[in-house]
């Protein structure tokens, strides 16, 4: 570039953008834009389209000796299944506060982590839990019943055979 200004510029002065650099700047900008969009696209990577979690629906056969209002926790599941005169129902055992597994007792559920207590129908009695324990959908098929941990039903929904 030939200097055209009469006044000698100081080396410290900011340099004006020469017209002939326009193409260079334009290609740089388009490169940065392309990289930016590619990066934004790749940010979707950590959120998988399908989660590899175990099946939410499972079959369970309640023991005949299960007393009325006594919790039956199928092995490996965080759901308590109950049977009383009105029918079968399932209550989640995952504390609505921070996800610990609550312990079913005669009067309700106790959370070991931060002391939340729930009544027998899952409603909060004390502690930091913000919501009641959800009830899960139960369908009865003969002696077996199917519990769906993915489906929440209104509290008090009991299914008879």
């Amino acid at each position: 570039m030939t200097p055209t200004t009469a006044r000698a510029r100081s080396r410290l002065d900011p340099e004006p953008v020469p017209r002939r650099d326009f193409l260079g700047i334009a290609s740089l900008v388009s490169f940065v834009a392309a990289m930016l969009f590619a990066t934004i696209g790749m940010l979707r990577l950590p959120k998988a389209a399908v989660l590899g979690s175990p099946a939410k629906k499972f079959r369970v056969t309640l023991p005949d000796a299960l007393a009325e209002g006594e919790a039956f926790v199928p092995p490996g599941r965080s759901v308590a299944v109950f049977r009383d005169r009105e029918g079968l129902y399932a209550i989640s055992l995952v504390c609505t506060h921070l996800g610990c597994i609550v312990k079913p007792g005669p009067s309700g559920f106790d959370c070991p982590c931060h002391g939340s207590q729930f009544a027998a129908d899952g409603s909060v009695v004390r502690g930091p839990a913000p919501k009641a324990l959800p009830w899960h959908a139960v369908t009865v098929r003969g002696r077996e019943c199917v519990v769906d941990e993915g489906a929440v039903v209104p509290a008090g929904t009991k299914v008879s055979a």
Binding site: G52, S53, H97, G99, C111, P112, C113, K131
Partner: protein, 516 residues
Amino acid sequence: MSTSAPRKRPLRAFLSDLVRSPRRIRDAAWRVGLPTSDRARSTFVFGNVFLHLHSVRTHRWSLRWSTTWGLGLAATAAFLVVLASGVLLMFYYKPYPDVAYDSIKDIHFIVPTGRFIRNIHRWSANVMVVAVLAHMARVFYTAAYRRPREFNWLVGMALLVVTLGLSFTGYLLPWDQLAYWAITIGANIAQSPRELTDAFGITPWFDPGGLQRELLLGSDIVGEEALIRFYVLHVMILPLALGALMAVHFWRIRKDGGMTRPWDADQRLGPGHDVYPVFTEAPQKTYQLAAIVRGTSPAVGRGPEHTVPSMPHLFYAELGVLMLTVFACLALSMAWDAPLKELANPAVPENPAKAPWYFLGLQELVAYSAFMGGVGIPAIVLLGLGLIPFLDREEAGTGVWFGGPGGGRLALASLGFGLGAVLAVEAFAIRFGWLREWFPDVPQLAITAVNPGTLLAAVYGAYSLWVVKRYGWARAGATALFTCFLSGFVVLTVIGTYFRGPNWTFYWSPADWPGH
């Protein structure tokens, strides 16, 4: 081809070059021999990429113990120990559920020196957290965050967050009961913005909490995806971030003018026996960079008479801190084994399930409101810390502990107030419970807004505003607030660590815990 004449005895010349090559390799690497004078030592320092992390000369004020207590350096030293031991652990650790637990057991019981390496990895990580927190308190109480060091204060906060992140991600890797339930609680804290979105009924459309949890766990359960994510964060992403931030942090120390010192540091120090007038001896020295740097040159008009060569003065001090830190890590890891509980069991929570000790203060607050304790209060604290250098624009008392004698008394008074307030609020909440116990139907939003955490933050904030008004001194308010939050952090951490038992019930001693 060559302009030089062919040598007479090529073989002999070759042999003599071969014999001399080790010495020449050494000379090429070091350029100068063993430095024997101050000038040679200075050349040695600025000719070495690692040593020239330091300036060639160091002000005598920076070398006083009470200027820094060597805390930032101790954190760095602990990090180096963590780094070395962590790389060794990677040879045996396998990041897959169940296998992970077995590999930790192998490291502990079978691998030669494995138990020691695992212990020192854990202990130096704890030393690092303590050193980082203490370093932050030191920088705060000497007002070293002030202009022109505001940005470095922010970098330091980022380093604190990454340090805690490294510690927490490491907590999960053994895949024992402690790890599994700490990460379950951690992931649900990440999900806790749902406490707000649920209260407004907008979770189905706007669910940042659920997104955070899913990104963290890579699944909707704590399983293999979560373990590999935490592993990648722990051994790659966070260490790289920490390294980059450390480079910026150290570089800025020099660019911001070295350690903070009071404006009258030279007079306070008085004449020193190892200090001599460099510039009057060699007045022909010029600043070659003066043409391009902004502002006035560092020392025109007054020689750097109160500086001493960094080599050896500063390096001896640094070596001292390094040795003390390594000694502390060694002693701790010889005395106490890193814990390992039973294999993770998703059906039975650890009771009590406790986070690492530096999060137990937050866990104490989480026991009232997950969102406020886990997200709200930490965000408020980080925001407040970040704003300090931009709200305190004063200059008096920079580089002086507490800004002088009045500041020391104020810090003590604030300590008393902070301890009193947190003890009163906790005692009340432990004795009488909180809103949910009195009114079982109270909406969650009310508890999110009014709980011991927010109450304490409000009381501390009001006290600091009152202090600013009373003293007419922004730094006084900052001192009050920082001291209050520090005392709150300490008391809540102690309660969470020593006085909480099964079901997060208050017990005076673990001996009173009911048996399982």
